[in-house]
């Protein structure tokens, strides 16, 4: 018995094949992982299921009956529900209103909305999925991203227009979630599975897939390569299937040991919403910053980068007092920054690569700080591109035409121009596929080997343990522990993040 089966799905865009033959079959009550590198064809496949893109050839069956999915409305009628990263929710309305959006609200006297009953019904829906911590009368916009996603799922769960939900498709749902939010999402997905619905789960994060999925289908170069039970497959097998070659190590080894010189030292530093903390980063050292969501990591980085004022204490950079009052000050002092949101904070995607790379360094990359010298900028940008192994047609190419991994490399090329002394990284591998991730890790190693100090904020604990020399744990806005990364296990780090006593 299969809920959904796809056979021989092909699709070409203007003669360029995106899907060359994908088979996929999902049983009822199953969480099925769809895996593959960026550009492997996952998003095209999902768009076909959603009725947004029409396949060239396809045999799509639901309950063994052949169907055509001509429009999003039809996909909905067939019981397919799509939960994207950009949820269709209205932040200003309450949780209950968002859950019942598009349906009739309970009324009083046929004229007024019965808010009490609406909230009760919403609470009931949430609790059926095991979500008890969200107050339905709160406004949607005041929730964390993770909770907003849970509301979106709840809304899909109760079904609309009499079409019950059969299959939930989640595309990279945890990309913006922290660990505890992800855990909640997983327990809701298990509830959904218990209710007989299926989930198609698209993610880069292997450990998640290993933890919650029953089956996995791997696509590569537009073909489905293999389908199998998660229980029968190892982490390494999955990676090998996805990228088509064996990967020896997830994290490249450190090239040098951290030096003796201190690059950055913070003394009794206080950042917005937190207590005082002291720490130091040595030349060639990668200092990881761990913590649950909103434990102050972002405010710390933004303070070090001059985007937030410090609330006390002092910072020295390479032995000199460092008091940046703007990002411009930070760049001038030799601090490079990789922001968390690549597209909204890191790049001007409508402009060419070289303009992005030289933007913080225009004073040095121009004549008399005023006159543009594009030829020089292009030459410098091409060199930076080589350094970060950027794949692009040339420095004049627009950033928006690049893949996610290559866009992130542009952000790195920008931060590394002018040989900064300190590199601040905020979730540098988020939403980047396995191959590009390794490139970025190697680059961080390279930079450390050249004597840069690196501060790495990440919610990916294995990444922190694999890349950092020491890890500073933040809780309630301040660093509470600093531990060596070598020999640290994930559970102990997690306990430190939550402030639980460790055995």
């Amino acid at each position: 018995m299969t809920l959904l089966s796809l056979k021989d799905v092909t699709k070409a865009y203007g003669g360029v094949p995106a899907l060359k033959g994908v088979d996929l079959s999902i049983a009822p009550g199953e969480i099925h992982a769809l895996m593959g590198e960026n550009g492997a064809g996952k998003s095209t496949l999902i768009k076909i299921l959603a009725g947004v893109v029409h396949p060239d050839t396809a045999d799509i069956r639901i309950d063994e009956h052949r169907v055509e999915i001509g429009s999003p409305r039809q996909a909905h009628r067939l019981g397919l529900r799509f939960i994207h990263q950009e949820f269709n929710v209205v932040p200003a309305l309450s949780v209950a209103e968002n859950i019942f959006m598009g349906r009739t609200y309970p009324m009083r006297g046929g004229l007024f909305v019965d808010w009490r009953r609406l909230n009760l019904a919403a609470r009931d829906t949430l609790s059926r999925l095991g979500i008890c911590h969200i107050d339905p009368s709160r406004s949607q916009g005041s929730l964390s991203l993770g909770d907003q996603m849970l509301v979106r799922i709840s809304s899909a769960f109760i079904g609309e227009d009499g079409a019950p939900a059969r299959l939930y498709v989640l595309d990279e749902p945890t990309a913006a979630l922290n660990r505890s939010e992800s855990e909640r999402l997983f327990s809701v997905l298990r509830e959904l599975r218990g209710s007989g619905a299926s989930v198609l789960y698209v993610s880069h994060r292997l450990d998640e897939v290993m933890a919650i999925c029953d089956m996995a289908t791997v696509v590569r170069d537009g073909r489905s390569i293999d389908t199998g039970r998660i229980a029968d497959i190892t982490h390494d097998d999955l990676v090998t299937l996805m990228i088509g070659r064996k990967v020896e190590e997830a994290y490249p080894p450190a090239l040098v040991a951290p030096g003796a010189d201190t690059v950055l030292s913070a003394k009794d530093l206080a950042v917005r919403g937190g207590g005082r903390m002291s720490f130091a980063v040595r030349a060639g050292e990668v200092l990881g910053i761990a913590g649950i969501a909103n434990a102050g990591q972002r405010n710390l980085l933004r303070t070090l980068f001059g985007d937030l004022p410090s609330h006390g204490g002092s910072i020295t950079l390479a032995g000199e007092r460092y008091r940046p009052r703007s990002p411009a000050d930070a760049w001038r002092a030799g601090v490079g920054y990789i922001p968390r949101e690549r597209r909204s904070e890191g790049l001007i995607t409508s402009r060419p690569i070289f303009e992005n790379i030289t933007l913080p360094h225009l004073a040095a990359q121009s004549s008399w700080k005023i006159w543009l010298t594009p030829w020089r900028e292009k030459r410098v940008s091409a060199q930076q591109g080589e350094l970060v192994r950027l794949k692009a047609s040339g420095p004049g190419q627009r950033v928006r035409e690049l893949s996610g991994g290559n866009q992130q490399k542009v952000v790195f090329a920008k931060a590394l121009l002018g040989k900064p002394r300190l590199l601040l990284l905020d979730e540098p591998t988020r939403g980047v596929d396995v191959g590009a991730k390794f490139d970025i890790y190697s680059l961080i190693r390279d930079m450390a080997a050249r004597g840069m100090g690196v501060v790495l904020v990440s919610s990916d604990l294995p990444e922190l343990i694999g890349m950092a020399d020491r890890i500073a744990v933040m809780r309630d806005g301040a660093v509470t522990d600093i531990v060596a990364a070598r020999g640290l296990d994930e559970e102990r780090l997690l306990n430190l993040c939550y402030g639980r006593a460790t055995g």
Binding site: W331, G346, I348, S350, R351, L359, W371, L372
Partner: protein, 320 residues
């Protein structure tokens, strides 16, 4: 094909308009004299539209340019009535423009008001100030120095052209100089590069060390300055000044930038395309006037053509 339509649709339309007028007005339209005349008629709009491009590159706009032009004209004329020399009166009027633009910039970047609201408010205020200081009257006649009025009428002789003596009007020369300066500023300097960065992604620009607030302040000041210059040019051209003189400039300037941006690859404003936009508007105005089309009908046609150009461009972009 679509890309071609998107990028060159406006140019093709412009060519069609030119050919239409050429055929309809075989004796008068395609003549050096008429074109120099168009260039003079358009010179104020060119100056204002150049200034408007500076802020529109950042994704902002300035609704107050028309009132600013009127006020600058009034300020200069009033100083003339007190027998100030021309250079002094013109300098003060220009400074008023820079200062008014700086106020816009302060409101937008440091107080944080939306450009639409901030410049709508200053539009009203500047217009009020122009009425108050002029007493609501047109300042003309002997108060205006003769050489100030003559400046707009004179030009550099270009010799005979088909038996007619033609000259390059001074106002056209001023417009060309302004275009050259703004072009260098936007396309050749780090200042311009940073403005484009702000327009592309203000947050990323800020995190890349672009001093967003300071640049906005400077950009709005420059826009105010160009508006004031246009007002002075206008006053010179009609040798008089009244508090509503510049009111038509704002909409036409924004329309010219939008029209021009349909030509650019990524839909962003670029100065030279803005000038093409001004030319389209100017040629339409000139041709339709010569064909004695009623001025209200002219408004309908001009509005329709702007809509057509912008919608063709955005439709083609969507299909892409």
């Amino acid at each position: 094909m679509l890309t071609l339509l998107r990028r060159y649709g406006t140019l093709v339309g412009f060519a069609a308009i030119l050919i239409f007028f050429w055929v309809s007005l075989p004796d008068t339209f395609m003549t050096a004299r008429n074109w120099l005349n168009i260039s003079q008629q358009m010179s104020m709009l060119i100056v204002v539209a150049s200034g408007m491009t500076i802020v529109m590159v950042m994704g902002d706009f300035d609704l107050s340019v028309g009132s600013m032009a009127s006020l600058a004209g009034i300020v200069a004329a009033i100083l003339f009535t007190f027998d100030y020399p021309i250079w002094a009166a013109v300098s003060v009027a220009l400074l008023v423009g820079l200062a008014g633009g700086a106020v816009n910039g302060l409101l937008i970047s440091f107080v944080g008001i939306l450009p639409f609201v901030a410049t709508l408010a200053t539009l009203t205020m500047l217009s009020g100030v122009a009425f108050v200081v002029s007493g609501g009257k047109t300042i003309s006649g002997r108060a205006i120095p003769e050489s100030f009025g003559n400046f707009a009428r004179e030009g550099i002789a270009l010799g005979d052209w088909g038996g007619v003596a033609v000259s390059l009007p001074n106002l056209t020369i001023v417009a060309i100089v302004v275009v050259a300066l703004v072009w260098v500023l936007l396309e050749q300097t780090t200042f311009g590069r940073r403005l484009y960065a702000i327009g592309g992604n203000i947050e990323a620009a800020h995190l890349s060390g672009v001093a967003v607030r300071r640049l906005k302040l400077i950009a709005f000041s420059l826009t105010g300055g160009t508006a004031a210059l246009a007002g002075i040019m206008y006053a010179s051209r009609v040798a008089s000044s009244n508090p509503t003189q510049g009111s038509g400039l704002m909409l036409n300037a924004i329309a010219a930038v939008f029209l021009g941006s349909t030509l650019s690859e990524h839909g962003e404003p670029r100065l030279l395309y803005t000038i093409v936009g001004v030319l389209v508007l100017g040629v339409l105005d000139n041709g339709l006037t010569q064909l004695s089309v009623d001025s209200y009908v002219r408004q309908i046609l001009v509005g329709g053509i702007i809509l057509l150009a912008v919608s063709t461009s955005s439709y083609a972009r969507r299909l892409n």
